[in-house]
Amino acid sequence: METVCVLGAGSTRYGRLDESLVEMIANASADAIDDAGIVPGDIGAAYISNVFGIADKQVHLGPVIMSRLGIPEKPSLSIESACGSGSVSFREAYANVAAGFYDAVLVTGAEKVTHTTTAWTTTYFAYCSDFFYEGSAGASFPGLFASMARAYMTEYGATEEDFARVAVKNHENGLLNPKAHLRKKITVDDVLGSAVVASPLKLYDCCPFSDGASSAIVCNEKFAKEHGGKYVKVIGSGRGGSPSALQDRNHITTIDSTVSASKAAYKAAGITPKDVDFAEVHDCFTIAEVVNSEDLGFAKKGEGIGAAREGRTARNGDIPLNPSGGLKSKGHPIGATGVGQVVETYEQLTGAAGERGIKGAEIGLTHNFGATGASCAVHIFQSV
């Protein structure tokens, strides 16, 4: 297997964007290509992740983007895996480079939904659930995670105030990220006083609906060295699956796909959770960050909430989670998020994260899942 590297990265701002879906993808891709110091013709193939292209009247995005980049003859693949689309795309890029099919590929994820209504997005996002068992009975995405939150509160005695702390921390981080969607300092009281979306989750426990695109150039090490730019190595990659419906999980507050994906990634990297300097995790709702911290091995089951309470997951804590601001503050353009986490990790590990940089970080982890964690991918990166 080839050693796989990330040689360049680019991202639009996350938030409410005027550009079309295609323009956002083309812009982020062009930025990643420039950042890598290559030209489009150096790319062997592209992986484009997106969920609701229909909302902006464009599906089959791959060839459209290849045409805009002046390389219409290059193969591309459009990938949908709900909120986990970006990391699954990254995994396809990784696997194809590792296998030697291509020396370098482009991976770009994007979403554009803020021009639709709250009802439209809530309705369409629910199609990512196991619709026969969940969405058809009125479950929304906030509702599914709220059910997880109530189960966690019942089992481990966590409070709404505990969850609020996760939001406060991620908003603090996002304040330092010029590309974040919600750049606003908030307090625990702001969270507790915000409108209920799906009890016990309130507006500030939820990630927002965001537009945005993120892109990375993935290549083998020989290509990275020849092109001379800064690069980081992908030292572990893992994927996993869980029952699509919450009702069928062994334990409602354990996401099996995270456990298996991270175990595989740690094994490939030859490290343990203790060796990770920071992680970008899928905090679509505050409860998710807590559950993730346990499933990724940063805290024991039931103790993730304590870790959040004690500030262990803050930027200066022993395992900083979401230095970018996470989905909560940086925003969650669902098809882009998994690639956006790679962009953040690349910037962190190449000293380009500015004020929000984690001092001395050498190993970063990205964790992104689809829906309630029915699909998941975890990647581990190391600075060179």
């Binding site: 969940e134 009975a137 009125g138 059910s147 019942t154 209920v196 799906a198 009702q247």
Partner: protein, 121 residues
Amino acid sequence: MSGQKAFSESAKSGKVLLAKCSKCGELHLGTVMFCAKCGSRKFDSQEVDARGTVATYTIITVPPDGFEKYAPYAWVVMALDGTDLRISGFMAGIASPDDLPVGVRIRVTGDDERGVIMERD
């Protein structure tokens, strides 16, 4: 009848359609096609009373299309009596967590455009 249709038909009469693996005895919801434990695709189907307790739930105030007129309502995961299985459904008239403590007894009473309907037992 497809697995999903049959499952909904059972719910209409307050039952859950289950599939018991003929080979290893593992119990599944009726929509399964291969046993998750042994891989067999032979099942004995059985209908049981859809009664149980609240495993967890949420009260939804920002609803998807078709549910506006019912909000706020609960979306509930029920632990099915006498099994390790759970099923999910819609419950009307729940406005506050005090209306539905975790662990309280509930049952399935139907299936319509709101999916599986549940009520307190």
